[in-house]
Symmetry: C2
Subunit: 513 residues, 2 copies
């Protein structure tokens, strides 16, 4: 075998069996080796931001890494924004970044760049396999690193000669790193603090928002602890049969108002809440003055176990509060995100997965799906728009038996619009919705909040997507997706009903202009 | 004024009057300030790779920087691949990268990242303006840095509070850095070496390929020196009335064969030629064995002056060899890049600008336009596909009176397809051609060369763009561009004739499947 075979074999031996790729010349040996490893599924993406976002979505749902295949420094850079989001989601991802042959690097050919330096800010592990014999062992290290805990993205740089040279060395099968056990003294201290507090809140992030964590948090709610989640969570179990906590409000002043009187905030799998952006004369830290801040567990800890230990210490009953399914009424005449959220709640089947890059439409839909059937909600964790389509793509590869719904603002959707082609090509069961309001609507709100005042003509034009109007149905059909445009709440409801009962790709432009 | 005003005023005072932008919340003060500075033209791009590629195209044609406006680390990362190309083109660019307010950075909010570290590999200058008073002076420094010589991209990080706080300090008007004068001893040494050589070659890069450099090189050709250019040049003056040198062949073995017998290679505004990629058992350095390598001037030097000094030292006459315009025949029945190149040569008016991201179609068209009317050719300097549409966009903003032609492989075109919207929105005089062969054709060639052998089914699928077939006319019209599909050489010729005689945006899908 050559180094490329060692890489793919080691990946597959360690359960990494999905590869989201946009290869170039330096990656041709990896591409050729795919035909010698039937366990690896390779999926072509027409832009690297699609590949990395897909790996994020895959990792969030599969609980193990996919790999990406990227073409030198520029290929990595094209995928870096969605790796920023993946970093903030603590998603395990293994990036394979092709490089020039080791003896060619010194000549600084046009595609040469400092890949390790580019990758460092978003990576938890970066290594270059500078000989064929090191490829297998470093691949195993990369997989282990990606699991964390907490997880993150690991970058293996693969020089072309390390791929084409022969080797006998595949990497070992690793022991998958497990999160740390809860710290008993932290549990006891937090339990005591909660008993002493008048208005305690526990804030959940990372694995505390998965199915087991949410169930444990429901036990805490049953004994009077208010439960909140981070504003943006990597993966949150919601809907029928689950406990549904509130979330931290997006705008800091609203969050602090919501927390008025809170005298204890306990962190579980997250860190001190802070404002998404700073604004003149508004606070950055979203902990009320005088509120005690305590940590039950960091992100590296088994949060469900910590939450259950805390619930036990507080004498909470085994079963906590859960939501029932409530069939929403058919939408009325008003066509807005609230109505569309009701339609999603009406039609999304049990086991749905929502990839949320909907910006201003996101919160209404999140609210409306509180009582929907059981589903997972994947948020934009890092604020880099353009993950909604790719994350849905990856989630659908990870969970082929589940319906995936990709919700996107039109500004966000344009960022990685190329992902539609891969959804069509792979015939994935993904329904993509674009909320086409013809504007970066959130920025119209933020302009005033940052002290920019009323936008003048030039500023307004930088927030406007309506000239020319984007024909989303043309874009989607141009990339092979069956697509329709809806302009009323009733039409959206009907389109959603069809999409949720018919397998395969669907595209809905919700024309909100 | 606030820091944002100081920034934009200082830019405009220094002749930076075009801004390619995709702003977010942290950049709202900059956006608001645009309405207070009439000299700055702001252009919205729906993805940062479009903005940075446009700034590259603008800088290549204007000879001065445009600025970009990017949203924190992820916004920069999205634009980094085209900044890699701009780095390799030595194009002056000023990137303004918004950041969190200085006192908010410590909280590591979701969009926080190490912007300076991300930007370092592709930048010649990175600074953060951490108070409003430093914004103006650092802006002037950034502009100066971008000019070089040679030029490059400078990154000014702009924290939100530095933008919104008041200041009295605008930056100075800088003295534009000039390239160094030629070194007389280098000129004398090279002249002596050329006289002694049997088969001398001079290799041109960077400013040696502009109008004055090419004219001076024509003088050298007239006295028997073979003139070559780098395979990919940032901007090359070509066509009627200009001297047209050959270029270094792309594949190393072809390049070395072409150089057989060469006993002296002189570098003018470039560095030692190397293979674009390494391959097993093929050389990296493209200088024949035993060939002497000498440097007339580095990229920081006034290359036309150095070439003229050399021509004088060799006793060359004042006027060198130039090409005449030769009207190509109407294309025959065969529909390929050679035929399309002839059509472009037939119809492109004097002063045309070609942005080349055409990959396998590029060389035939380059060859066919040798005797076209006078034009500038802008190559893919860094190998990161996805610059053809953005660079054309920026060139058209820099040169509104000139016809711009954007040539793109379909794989390359998909990378920054969002640029079509901005071309339509700004009604730019750009004709975009997509060579739709439904494949990453170049990779089919490279697979064998890298030792990957015949691609199997999985490998083939990673090189294939034809399933589903991309409907380029739908994509272009969906973004507001008038578009047509042509499937014969005759139809392409007619479409090119129309596009070259009608101002405004045109889109042609050349369906070569």
């Amino acid at each position: 075998m050559n180094g490329a075979d060692a890489l793919i074999t080691t990946l597959a031996d360690n359960g990494v069996t999905a590869c989201f790729a946009n290869p170039g010349t330096s990656e041709m040996q990896f591409v050729a080796a795919l035909d010698r490893e039937p366990r690896m599924r390779s999926i072509l993406c027409l832009f690297e931001g699609v590949a990395t976002g897909a790996a994020d979505g895959y990792g969030r749902m599969a609980g193990k890494p996919a790999c990406t295949l990227l073409h030198l420094g520029p290929g990595y850079a094209n995928g870096a924004a969605n790796l920023h989001n993946a970093r903030r989601a603590y998603t395990p991802v293994v990036n394979v970044i092709g490089d020039h042959a080791t003896d060619h690097r010194q000549y600084d050919a046009p595609l040469n760049s400092d890949i390790a330096a580019l990758a460092a800010p978003n990576s938890i592990w970066v290594r270059s396999a500078d000989s064929a014999d090191t490829v297998g062992p470093l691949t195993a290290e990369a997989v282990a690193a990606s699991f964390g805990a907490p997880g993150g993205n690991a970058c293996l740089i693969l020089p072309a000669d390390s791929a084409w040279n022969e080797t006998n060395t595949a990497g070992p099968v690793i022991e998958i790193p497990q999160p740390a056990a809860p710290d008993a003294s932290a549990v006891a201290a937090v339990a005591a603090a909660i008993k002493a507090a008048e208005k305690p809140v526990i804030l959940l992030g990372s694995s505390a928002c998965g199915e087991a964590g949410i169930a444990a948090a429901g036990r805490l709610a049953a004994v009077g602890v208010r439960v909140l989640t981070d504003t943006f969570t990597a993966r949150q179990s919601r809907g029928e049969g689950r406990f549904r906590p509130d979330k931290m409000m997006y705008f800091g002043e609203q969050a602090l108002k919501d927390l008025t009187g809170t005298d204890l905030m306990v962190l579980a799998g997250t860190s001190q809440p802070v404002a998404f952006f700073a604004y003149p004369d508004r606070p950055s830290v979203l902990v009320p003055e005088g509120c005690d801040l305590q940590t039950l567990c960091g992100r590296e800890v088994d949060a469900p176990a910590a939450l259950n230990a805390l619930a036990d210490a507080l004498g909470a009953p085994a079963g906590g509060a859960v939501e029932a399914y409530v069939e929403p009424a058919a939408p009325g005449p008003k066509f807005d995100a609230w109505a569309m959220g009701a339609s999603i709640a009406r039609h999304m089947p049990t086991g749905g997965i929502i990839s949320d890059d909907a910006v201003t439409a996101g919160l209404p839909i999140f609210t409306q799906t509180r009582n929907a059937r059981a589903h997972d909600w994947l948020s934009l964790t890092g604020g880099a728009i353009g993950q909604g389509i790719p994350v849905a793509l990856g989630a659908a590869v990870a969970c082929p038996e589940r319906k995936v719904l990709s919700l996107n603002g039109d500004g966000a959707g344009m960022y990685t619009v190329q992902g539609l082609w891969t959804i069509a090509r792979e015939k994935l069961d993904v329904t993509v919705v674009i909320f086409a309001n013809g504007a970066y609507r959130i920025l119209g709100i933020e302009m005033g909040r940052t002290g920019g005042g009323e936008p003048g003509p030039k500023a307004s034009r930088l927030l406007d997507l309506g000239d020319p109007q984007i024909d989303w149905v043309a874009l989607a059909t141009g990339m092979g997706m069956p697509a329709e445009r809806v302009e009323t709440a009733e039409a959206f409801d009907a389109a959603m009903a069809r999409a949720m009962t018919t397998p395969g790709p669907h595209f809905i432009e919700a024309a909100m202009r």
